[in-house]
Symmetry: C2
């Protein structure tokens, strides 16, 4: 594969049926953006959507827009647009709050359901990975410390440890489907089945898989899922997150963030909480409408293709990047962190380099935007909707040039963000 | 006062030093907007601010904007701009999440602090009003049910009951400063002092007072406060809310929503939570940047005047509305719900009418936008930054005409929103 040329990459783009979708994104001239796994690029339609919400819905229609523009229903409407991307059914997803807050609701609801599990008092571990995105661990810490019922986190150091860590003492398994640093993709179906066999419930964080890999939550029989709309879904900076509750769990989805948007009759102004039926009981308070509304622009682009096609191109892009980086920069101390096995790989490729941070800064200076994660990890995300094969070629060539010339400042202070 | 004429109202506007600020808002032609207590009007600058964030910060600078555009610091920066409006010091306020979520954090932190109170196990009531905005009650219900430590809500039916309801069994007093329906304004200083004398802590919800009445949280020695940015602060539909934690409580502000934005070193990606010092420990997850950024446009208008001047005009507007409504529509069954006493009045005036819902709909048809709240309450909010004295005159004349002509549909189905 390393015998490929730039011309070959251009040819791949010419035969790529997703290629025309790139036109729907606003991307800066001369930038090769390989950081869509941190902040997705801007759909061109987002500007107009925001303007419509601000000028017409807010500025002109004002309070009427809660009904007329469907603001109140927006979390459900967006959830239904998102559902097909993750194997959810209609009315199983709402877009609301942040991923951290949604995870809190899911953990709380899962532990509440587990109270009905035989010998539930012996089930006191929440199994997750030490390398999970930290906020997931923090939210579980916060909830369990505060519940003060003896729950403890069991942090495993590798995916292989999960099979023994998940056992009869496990109340809950909480994993991020694709690891944010390494890009390791868990086998959702197998882990969920194992958790269930042991009597545990299983929550999946799809922050790095929604819109990036094929996800079928219902086929995997997962219990709950949360995820992020501002990465591969291109919903805008800090866009509200989503939460999935399958129909079978909705009647038992009890969590302490019982705000008025989750009430059975929110406008009756009743002085006591009564949870609504269905997915909207995962809602809490009023949502930031402008940020929320723009999420539709990203989802509308996904509606023009399929996750199967996106996945095919994603794997082709990461395969190409890995092959070119190892083939053309193999004389440098680059070490692949992301699994070579396609079935274990998300839509990113991460390499360590002893001067990883400095090299990433040098790449950014040259217009190749990846990012850095401790320790020593250079992380490159590939968004099939707007990343071209020729971008992969050019990015690797610039990386090679930087490494060959050692044109990076090894004493650069590390100050990585997000 | 009812001998006033429309010309007198125009003269009041001509002498109103706040009058020029109206130009900074986008208001529909021909509409008299008296619903800024539900959704504040659009500052004209918001459109440009959103465009800058979307085109430049998101579209062009992409991931760099977390630092370059100060996205990560936005909750604190906006909090510092908001602080002077509520008597908060620098670094005591952050703008983040929803009011419901922030209230949850404040209740949790307050109960945690109370564990150190002598005989805390005897303190098991949370005192609030039955007429409080429902989500405040719901959040307290959710939290206490989950804590399962015997806390119970004590709902009082009138402000007068507070003095006896707040006693040695009280852990926490949780009140909305200005009642959303009646516009009743609590005496924050007196109630807080009474609560403290009884050993209780006091949380204030400023949803209907921030930007509407003078608030001095530090002078009142309040314990915690939360509030809304999309009503009188004109931050945009569903804009993120704020939370105030005074310096004296910051080191003990422990709550279960311990997300990575509240971590001491959020970018170290440590696998265990350690709360940051200071106000940012009230943060949880990533925030919706476009909705958040627009809040600054509303706050920038407040920076051009003072809450003292705003309060003076607010009272003049509500005095005028009450006098005109009672003077010119006094032959109709209108009954004032809002206190006549200025010291007990927020920036709204509410009247009951047996056909309140239908009358409000008829008013909206005629361009006078107030809203309806059960039971029978017609609610009119007055935002001194953009409401004119002549608007008050015209609104009352239209109300009088509707009532005189009985030009409202008494059998209209009620379907009030927000």
């Amino acid at each position: 594969m390393t015998t490929l040329t730039r011309q070959d990459c251009i040819a791949l783009d010419q035969h790529d049926k997703l290629a025309p979708l790139r036109e729907q994104f606003s991307l800066p001239d001369g930038m090769i953006y390989l950081d869509g796994n941190s902040l997705g690029a801007q759909p061109k339609a987002a500007q107009q959507r925001a303007q419509d919400v601000i000028q017409q819905e807010w500025g002109t229609d004002l309070i009427k827009s809660w009904n007329k523009a469907g603001w109140f229903d927006l979390p459900s409407r967006l959830g239904n647009l998102l559902a097909p991307l993750i194997g959810a059914k209609e009315n199983e997803v709402v877009v609301t709050d942040s991923t951290s807050i949604n995870l809190f609701k899911a953990i709380a609801a899962a532990l509440d359901i587990q109270v009905n599990n035989p010998e539930h008092t012996k089930r006191r571990t929440i199994v997750t990975e030490r390398s999970n995105f930290p906020t997931d661990i923090y939210m579980a810490e916060g909830l369990t410390r505060w519940l003060d019922r003896g729950y403890r986190l069991h942090l495993v150091d590798s995916p292989e440890e999960l099979s023994t860590a998940i056992n009869q003492e496990t109340a809950l398994v909480m994993l991020t489907h694709v690891n944010y640093r390494s890009g390791y993709l868990h086998d959702m179906q197998a882990i969920t089945a194992h958790a269930h066999a042991q009597g545990a419930l299983c929550i999946w964080d799809l922050a790095h898989s929604a819109g990036a890999v094929e996800v079928d939550l219902n086929a995997a029989h997962a219990d709950f899922a949360v995820g992020c709309c501002y990465k591969y879904l291109n919903g805008g900076p800090g866009a509200p997150a989503f939460i999935w509750v399958p129909q079978r769990h909705q009647a038992h989805f009890n969590h302490p963030l019982s705000g008025w948007w989750g009430h059975a009759t929110p406008f009756s102004m009743a002085p006591s909480f009564e949870a609504t039926k269905g997915i909207r009981r995962a809602l809490c308070g009023t949502q930031p409408i402008v940020s929320l509304a723009m999420i539709e622009c990203g989802l509308a682009i996904f509606a023009q293709t399929s996750m199967a096609d996106i996945r095919l191109k994603s794997l082709a892009l990461t395969d190409l990047f890995i092959a070119l980086a190892e083939g053309r920069c193999g004389h440098h101390p680059l070490k692949l962190v992301t699994p070579r096995n396609q079935q274990q790989r998300g839509s990113q490729a991460s390499f360590t380099h002893p001067h990883g941070y400095a090299v990433v800064q040098a790449l950014i200076e040259r217009g190749v935007v990846g990012d850095y994660r401790e320790p020593e990890i250079m992380r490159f995300g590939f968004t099939p909707l707007y990343t071209r094969f020729v971008d992969v070629w050019d990015a690797v060539e610039i990386l090679r040039d930087i490494l060959d010339q050692q044109s990076y400042q090894v004493d650069l202070q590390r100050n990585a963000v997000t």
